[in-house]
Amino acid sequence: MKAGVGAPGRAQIPERTFRTDGWRVYPLTTGAILIFFILYATVRIFMNQWYWAPEEHYLTPLYSPCLSTSCVPGSSHFGQPMGEIPAFLPMAFITFVILAGFRGTCYYYRKAGYRSLFMAPAACAVPEPHKKYTGESKFPLVILNAHRYFFYGALVFACINIYDAVLSFHGKDGGIGMGVGTVIILINVAMLLAYTLSCHACRHIVGGRLKNFSKHPLRYRYWTFVSKLNVRHGQFAMISLVTVILTDAYIMAVAAGWITDLRIFN
Amino acid sequence: MVQVQVERFAYDVVVIGAGGAGLRAAIEARQQGKRTAIVTKSLFGKAHTVMAEGGCAASMGNVNAKDNWEVHFRDTMRGGKFLNNWRMAELHAKEAPDRVWELETYGALFDRTKDGRISQRNFGGHTYPRLAHVGDRTGLEMIRTMQQKIVSLQQEDFEEHGDYEAMLKVFPECTITELIKDGDRISGAFAYWRDSGKFLLFETPAIVLATGGIGKSFKVTSNSWEYTGDGHALALRAGATLINMEFVQFHPTGMVWPPSVKGILVTEGVRGDGGVLKNSTGERFMFGYIPDVFKGQYAETEKEADAWYKDQDNNRRTPDLLPRDEVARAINSEVKAGRGSPHGGVFLDIASRLPADEIRRRLPSMYHQFKELADVDITSQPMEVGPTCHYVMGGVEVDPDTASSVVPGLFAAGEVAGGMHGSNRLGGNSLSDLIVFGRRAGLGAVSYLDGLAERPTISESDVDDAANRAVAPFDWPTEGQAENPYTIHAELQQSMNDLVGIIRKEEEVQQALDKLVELKERARFVAVEGRREFNPGWHLSLDLRNMLLVSECVAKAALMRTESRGGHTRDDFPGMDAQWRNTLLVCSSDERGTHAEVAAKPQEPMREDLLELFELSELEKYYTDEELTQHSGRAGQ
């Protein structure tokens, strides 16, 4: 070994690592979850169906908002300004770009991805396999600095998700009602909100960028609040990923008629 | 005779030591335009000062506006039992606030008061909350701040000269083994690099000693390996004198368990912030140990003591915050009387006095230290603590204003200098001492240089001598048995700890002196294996000579002073004796440092206006009648 830990002058130790703990667990499990999500989302996004449960008024977050004339009736909560979407494009491509972009540029997912998918590094003090490394200093990875724009987008989408959640309190007889799906949607929205608000870009924007908190007491309060959430950003990232998949899968199953939604009332 | 290569460097000022005192001295010398070197045994920024926890005393009056230099001066003199060099105590009290504020301009971030000023905390012996602090890592903040100030000066030099080290260079992991003189004046210093074992020579007319203390001669100590008394020994061998060496401070609260961490400090800040000492019966025993000289100044009931934390104007402070010597002796007595904790200490309880969050916020490193080293959660369990060797009040005898020793060109500041703290140092007075007298030592060296007609020179034979002495441990004795430096060190520590420790007796100190004679003899045969590259056995062999010499001073002075005062407690002379108050014990040695001698000398009487700062009734507890005839209280009678 000539490079890295084998570079001239350093202690000459042939072993890559002496770590005896379970350092492989994190990259393996995280990698598996990430790959599963990528596969699932890709498949789902090209299905172009079963995203709206018309009776229960459940809209899956993966297709929300549905803005084109291709959308099934009822699923377009904000009209259909987009016209027809060509068949080769997934009709939820805007949603997909924003959500995937938000997560893809998220500081936590970056860490998770670099560690598990790129092994840069797989675990601390374990040599990485790459010959050269410039990190996020050069194109294309320097683009990750645009994360805040995805955050703004995600914030808009979070509001839309809240609206969708309100609509999911739709009773079968037209009035107010609630099913298991509603609960799932609510939990998902809560997790999405926690994930979005705990974002590092958010933390920076609400107050982190200031030099003097004491001159901006209100922003200091926001910052303190976001900072508290931010400590658990990684957890929210993973939990919300799982809740999104579960919510989507549930709504898909209801929409496809594989299961019937259990109603709590009406 | 060895053939040696010696790298040579010429500087205007060489500062030995990169602790608070050394860094401050170097900053000053460089700012006055002198080419300055800083030499340190460890890496830059690791000096012992990083370990200081509680705070830095300065009467800024941010928390209690009644505080001022006079109150600080009085507290310092009382703490030292009036044996202090009063001029140093005066300068210290007057200049400390400016020096602390100066640190802010270097970038220090102390904890703040509500109105945005530097917050100050209570500490033993200080009348008002006075210690500027950062949680419990004040020393780290100070050393980092000055380290970064030095970097910023180097950046300025880079702008001007294209070389960061043009005016100010740090020599890390470099140990000075000898000072070299030209006639009676300083002309240089001899050193080795710890990593390569290679030698260097500093040609310099002015040296500032800032090497810290001597605690590594004792077994149970809060001090790090650096504290081998190098500066003390270098000064002695260069012909300078040490004073007050019998006064060694045993900090009342060191960790006692597990054994491998025994001695590590538990900051006084724990008590300053509300922690109390209890014995095994749960009693807050300090109420029973308020000595006569402090009667009336401390709370006599738990209720009053507790009220004091909130309202200091109408209550007296808790006796848990008596000066350190008192608390250390009290703990010692409790343990001896069988009321100690399971591992031979007493309990220090903060868990029942503050909410867990608050403890973690105010004392983060203590929380951390107990959690990681002893498996004790201080937010729910009491700590076990006992006395640990912490600080040496004694040191190089210096001129208060210039920090100059009796040897021209040799200056000393910080723990290695003596006098300022008298027989006992108040907590927090060391960090302020470092910056006040560090700066003064820098200035002293500068004005010495400015008054110097020609640069002193170094004779080659002195350099060869120094080199030969440095490599001597590699020569295995031709006859007799080679000695292991680690063994001798361990025996020295045990003997000093047991026989010249917190409580002393004539026979025991005498025994220690006998042991020292034996160890000194054996130390001549110390031999080490291996090469000169980073060889800890060799390093220890060289440090050992210093420890032995300095220990001899401590023991001899301890034997001579037949009274108990501050950091010197004689079981056979338990009382304080006014006749001894203004007597200094002065230690000196021969050029090779083979033998130390101690002689008594009177101290200069306190300037009248300073004496007037005290009530006559208080002075009467310490002074002889003759000494007080000038006091206005008397004169009026």
């Binding site: 350093r10 | 950062v134 780290l140 597990p258």
Partner: protein, 254 residues
Amino acid sequence: MSYKGNFKVWRGDDTSGGLEDFVVEVNEGEVVLDIIHRLQATQAPDLAVRWNCKAGKCGSCSAEINGMPRLLCMTRMSVFTEQETITVTPLRTFPVVRDLVTDVSYNYQKAREVPSFTPPENLGLGEYRMKQRDVERSQEFRKCIECFLCQNTCHVIRDHEENKESFSGPRFLMRIAELEMHPLDTEDRTRDAQDEHGLGYCNITKCCTEVCPEHIKITDNALIPMKERVADRKYDPIVWLGNQLFRRGSHNKH
């Protein structure tokens, strides 16, 4: 409560070296540094190790224990089983001097390249006013004991010697963050963080945070906020436009 523990300690210098086996006594409550000291006193008097305080305060005793960068003096023996063989090596990112001692001068070089605290000109001694909540962020970073474990762990230089030139490492990127968050500092180092100190190399994989013995949240509280500040300055056209329109100058001093 004492037992014989098995150790492998790397010994050597910059030309050669290898692991040496030792069997040493281990007592209750001891830390790895105690064991190294016992080795020195009994079996290997010239075994080189750097340490000072033995209390986790000075950051001298950094090494790698069972492959993890740690402080020797803060790693208790009780975290290992009695049967376990404990491997102690020097830091593997810096040149080795001897045995467990490495040459960490890279760090001091990088420290010099960060523009220092620049005080406001109009304030004299004792006139600084800062609120606790304004200094708290920087205070967290000032807990740093400069053990350089984070520097050692960071794969940017650990695995890529050539990046040492352009990357200052988490410790000094954090130093920049500390100064940028200092309420009274007047210098602007944001662009430099990216262009001169290699903030972009950091891929926020958090190993620095994982090994920091002071538990400083280096990545979350220093590096990511700095990345966001850099984005403000270099990659965010809206913020740029805002600054132009509202003439905020080049710096966010409000």
